[in-house]
Symmetry: C2
Subunit: 216 residues, 2 copies
DNA sequence: AGCCTCATGTTGACGCTGTCCACATTGCAC
DNA sequence: GTGCAATGTGGACAGCGTCAACATGAGGCT
């Protein structure tokens, strides 16, 4: 939560603070956590950092650039959550099952983070009009998809579309769930629903012995 | 575009305007169209409606409530776009093919609208903290899904999950595409990609003679 | 050492915003 | 016609992002 001490101490601030940029970002991240992305404010951040508002402009061109930094931090947290889910996933025997597990763990992590830290999640993808957007978190999903392709769960020609679909599905679910479109946010029910949704996505990769759904 | 004349005329405004609420909403919708959701402003809307800023407060409790109205309008436009795509869809012979076409038309309409009117699309789902959110546009998707279920394309137990997945996929794709995650916004390429993504979603409903993708 | 320069932080101001208050005007019901 | 409730106006306040001018201190140069 707090990496920097010397935030509430009244030991007579040093002349030049020394870590202002870092402090502003971390305080702004806190603001976002508490009140959502639009709670980020240069003046409030400076206030909490114990500094005049305009000092921020020595470190950020713009409010949008500060928001960009915050978004990057939030995305890093998202990535950590996904990685944690990856680390905790059950080990499978076959390559296909392993790949499928990897993909679904990534999706679970993504959605879980969105449900547990909605403000951070929203901040991760907030509009900040500074095209700083190396997707970072997406790379985990990308890797999982490559694993699936390697295991033959995804056809060659479908690879690009499958990637887009996976991103879309996971991101869309998170967004809609946060907005309450899948019923009032009962964490448990949403988790269950998300699992079913993720399971739907890779029917061809179902664990052996269970037939692929089919009609007609 | 413009339903109300008497906006630029200088014929000496009537004493009480008479249609202020409507005028404010439509002007705000225009603001959103031009500059995105966050361009909506009570003062600017009032200005364009030729009225003092505070007059707006006789018709909207709050900026957020105005934004809510705008969002509802935007969603109506979205629904129209989806309906248009539905009306223009090719007619199929079999019930299954028809249902699948219906579902994919709905998805196409949704994504097409997002790509063609990004600002309106964003406005349709913008945060406005007034839980006015009858999803309206979603009902078309819901109907299409029921049709699919009736045609046996969706198993009984999977219905809820399939609905969530369809919503998520379509919405997520629109969001990510607008953010430029699928490459710089070349309308054409994005359309093609979205078609592939949608096709991926209902593999069991593929047009006859084309085998369901499968491995292992 | 001493100076000078540049980075950093401060003060004050401007225009914009949402919103509240008190007041003016008007349409409508009686 | 009178009065009331609805509607529009004007002025004010606090908060915001941002700019320009100024102050302060750290570090390199001689």
């Amino acid at each position: 939560m707090s990496e920097r001490p010397d935030e509430s101490d009244e030991v007579a601030r040093p002349y030049h603070h020394g870590q202002l940029r870092e402090a502003l970002i971390s305080v702004s991240l806190q603001l976002a956590e508490e009140g959502g992305p639009e709670a980020i404010s240069i003046r409030e951040a400076a206030r909490r950092a114990g500094v005049a508002a305009n000092a921020a402009y020595r470190h950020f061109e713009d409010l949008n650039h500060l928001r960009g930094e915050v978004a990057a931090r939030a995305r890093a947290h998202l990535r950590d959550a996904m990685q944690a889910e990856l680390d905790a996933r059950p080990r499978r025997r076959t390559e296909a099952a392993r790949a499928k597990e990897q993909l679904s763990a990534v999706g679970r992590g993504y959605i879980r983070f969105a449900l547990q830290s909605p403000n951070l999640f929203r901040s991760a993808w907030m509009e900040c009009s500074v095209p700083d957007f190396e997707p970072s978190a997406w790379s985990l999903l990308q890797e999982a998809l490559q694993e699936c392709a390697r295991a033959g769960l995804i056809l060659q020609g479908e690879q690009e579309a499958a990637a887009a679909a996976a991103w879309s599905l996971v991101h869309g679910f998170a967004e809609l769930a946060l907005r309450g479109f899948f019923g009032p946010a009962e964490e448990q029910a949403l988790r269950a629903l998300s699992d079913k949704v993720l399971a739907l996505f890779l029917p061809a990769g179902r664990t052996p012995s269970q037939p692929v759904r089919r009609r007609r």
